[in-house]
């Protein structure tokens, strides 16, 4: 099996699906001849030509708006938003149009658009090349939201996303585009949407993470193990719809939960996870659920390492939750 990095796995998924389904088109700024600023679409223009690998003018509302129209007419557009920070000119098209199209037409129309976008910090990108806006889209009924943490899942999840009929926001953790490497099967396979993965089993504390933070959490969990704290680490993979069974099963087992995300704490996905767990697992809980997250500030340039919930901070959260006694 070839070893690929995460961005190569994304590229591979696009190629596999474009070969399989002539309705799949890729579009966005610099995605064509250039192959994308992160090289995610490299080689596709050469293989599939300018009609299916479309360099668009610099306008995210245009990219998503036209993708919606294409999808209504039967294509399977996979637009790229160059950085998720720049998705907001298309917010109206996504929130008011894409997410509601099936519902408002009484099920007559749908727009299976898969929006790929690099997200997250740790690349010295400052406010506008670092944000993690997933919660805004999870809050919007009608959208699915996905974020892989490794190449295998990236390819399998993206292939699955391109084959189902709902709009998907596919958030790619750009900090680990090249750092995350792993074996990826050639050709076709899918990873089912809506299924989390227990990366590591444990009994004392459940740690929930996704994307680039999964790797920070992994480091923290290893350090916790050295201290004798056994953590169960869950990679959500699909952020919405959540794998609620996986989460509640683990929370019932450990009774202690830490949720990790890069996005700011307030109204982040962690808040929803906390609410769901306490609604369903209240009598099993041994400690308040802890959120280890980005701070409620814009993402800073110089102090980015201090902003990110890196392993030492996650470990402190694990310690606190493990030590809690009512």
């Amino acid at each position: 099996m070839p070893t690929l990095n995460l961005v190569q796995a994304v590229n591979d998924a696009l190629r596999v699906e474009m070969r399989r389904n002539p309705d799949v088109v890729v579009m966005g700024e610099d995605v064509g001849k250039f192959g994308g600023v992160f090289r995610a679409t490299a080689g596709l223009y050469e293989e599939f030509g300018p009609e299916r690998v479309i360099d668009t003018p610099l306008a995210e509302s245009g990219i998503i708006g036209t993708a919606i129209g294409m999808a209504m007419y039967g294509l399977r557009p996979v637009p790229e938003i160059q950085f998720s920070d720049f998705i907001f000119p298309a917010f109206d098209q996504i929130v008011n149009e894409l997410a509601k199209l099936r519902y408002r037409s009484g099920g007559q129309y749908a727009a299976p658009v898969v929006i790929r976008t690099p997200y997250g910090g740790g690349i010295k990108g400052g406010h506008y090349h670092s944000q993690s806006p997933e919660a805004l889209f999870i809050h919007t009924a009608g959208l699915k939201v996905v974020s892989p943490s490794n190449p295998y899942d990236a390819k399998g999840l993206l292939l699955a996303a391109m084959r189902q009929d709902d709009p998907v926001l596919f958030f790619e953790p750009k900090r680990i585009y090249r750092a995350a490497r792993g074996e990826v099967p050639e050709g076709d396979y899918t990873v089912e949407l809506g299924r989390a993965k227990v990366v590591r089993e444990g009994d004392d504390v459940t740690v929930i993470a996704w994307g680039a933070m999964l790797h920070e959490a992994e480091r923290a969990v290893e350090q916790a193990a050295e201290k004798g704290i056994s953590c169960e680490l869950i990679d959500l993979r699909t952020l919405w719809p959540l794998d609620i069974d996986c989460i509640t099963e683990s929370a019932r087992k450990t009774g202690r939960v830490v949720v990790v995300h890069e996005a700011a704490r307030t109204c982040g996905l962690g808040a929803e996870i906390c609410a769901l767990i306490q609604e369903r697992c209240f009598v099993h809980l041994e400690a308040p659920i802890k959120r280890v997250t980005g701070w409620d500030t814009p993402f800073p340039y110089t102090l980015e390492n201090e902003y990110l919930p890196r392993a030492p901070r996650i470990l402190m959260g694990i310690d606190e939750v493990a030590a809690f006694e009512a």
Partner: protein, 387 residues
């Protein structure tokens, strides 16, 4: 972290705006063979002043790209090749006028008297940066010289400039607003919105589009099927002019005409300055992947600095010896400023939680405490790379 915030911010007051508009010395008009046929002209003193300013930016950009390669700064976006379009247009403004910049106009701040050290401190993102190390390099802004803060988000500044211009009218001020954009930005929705509002409300705003032929890897003909960008102004009901953006006199003439018109209350103008991005989009980019080096070679023959230098030589107000001396002087000044700017430590930790709200809410207070406690307990591990 020993050097952390040992020095306080360098002075950021501009050294006075005399250099900005209208040289203090009596001005001889630089007539012989002027590149700008008609329209407001620049005196030889002004041309010399602009040459110095343009050369300073050229040397500065070169130095910063070297620093980025050496890993001393994280990122840089140069304006190399676009010095005439940037500085020639900004030169038409009064110190009280405002600039809403895009990607490549930071150096207008230097022209308008902002000191070099805090300007460079922004690139280092350290404690001497007036914007507190919050934004990526090349995102300088300073109220002291009326250059507003801008985001990386393409096009968003354009309607804001129009709004500020509407406000100035309402307050019966005579301020003019210069709003910059790249050719790529003309595709953004905000371009349409801004020009439409500006036309409807006759706002005292001058839009300057730096058409440098590229938006990262995309050519301008992939952005618009229009015969020019300037012509788009017609549909919004105000003049659009296309100028040779590498001819500083032509740029200035167009900008001054537009600024005067705006100040008289006659409304906006769109200027398309045709120029060329000589370097990479930014230090993260490799243009050899998408553009023909022959094109770059062609534009090298149209270099705005070379052209201005040739003009000064022709006017017999400049010579090789003076040129060499100026280069040495500017390089010395820049190197000294880099040395000082680099010596400052990172912004103080608490600054992460400052300037978010006028009144600090409880969650920010709590998180600031949590953060400081984390830094104490985690020690150097909390710092990651720059531990």
């Amino acid at each position: 972290m020993a050097s952390r915030a040992q020095k306080t911010s360098a002075a950021v007051k501009p050294k006075g705006h005399a250099s900005c508009n209208g040289a203090t010395k009596a001005s001889r008009p630089a007539s012989a063979g002027s590149a700008s046929a008609g329209g407001p002209a620049l005196s030889t003193d002004q041309l010399l002043e602009l040459y110095r300013a343009m050369l300073r930016v050229r040397i500065l950009d070169d130095r910063m790209i070297t620093l980025q390669r050496q890993g001393r700064i994280g990122f840089y976006g140069a304006c190399t090749g676009q010095e005439a379009a940037t500085l020639g247009s900004a030169y038409a403004l009064e110190p009280t006028d405002w600039i809403f910049p895009a990607l490549r106009e930071a150096s207008a701040m230097l022209l308008r008297g902002f000191p070099l050290v805090p300007y460079l401190a922004q690139v280092f993102g350290n404690s001497a940066d007036v914007t507190k190390g919050r934004q990526m390099p090349s995102h300088q802004a300073a109220r002291a010289v009326n250059q507003v803060s801008w985001s990386s988000c393409i096009g968003t500044q354009l309607p804001q400039a129009v709004g500020a211009a509407m406000a100035a009218r309402l307050k019966r001020d005579r301020t003019v607003f210069m709003a910059y954009m790249g050719d790529g930005a003309t595709s953004a929705s905000d371009f349409h919105v801004a020009l439409n509002f500006a036309g409807v409300f006759k706002a005292p705003v001058v839009f300057v589009c730096q058409n440098n032929h590229w938006s990262i890897s995309m050519r301008t003909d992939q952005q618009t099927a229009s015969e020019s960008i300037a012509i788009k102004a017609k549909a919004y009901g105000f003049p659009g002019v296309k100028v040779d953006g590498n001819d500083v006199e032509a740029v200035y003439a167009a900008a001054k005409t537009a600024v005067d018109r705006a100040r008289r209350g006659e409304g906006p103008t769109l200027i398309e300055a045709e120029t060329y991005r000589m370097g990479a989009h930014s230090t993260s980019d490799d243009p050899t992947r998408y553009r023909d080096p022959k094109e770059v070679e062609l534009w090298k023959t149209r270099d705005p600095l070379d052209r201005l230098q040739a003009r000064l030589l022709k006017l017999k107000v400049w010579d090789a010896r003076r040129d060499e001396a100026l280069r040495t002087e500017l390089l010395g000044e820049i190197n000294a400023a880099i040395k000082e700017a680099e010596s400052y430590g990172p912004p103080a930790d608490e600054t992460m939680f400052e300037d978010l709200y006028a009144e600090v809410p409880w969650n920010i207070l709590e998180q600031r405490e949590e953060y400081l406690e984390y830094l104490r307990r985690a020690g150097p591990a909390a710092r990651g790379d720059h531990a």
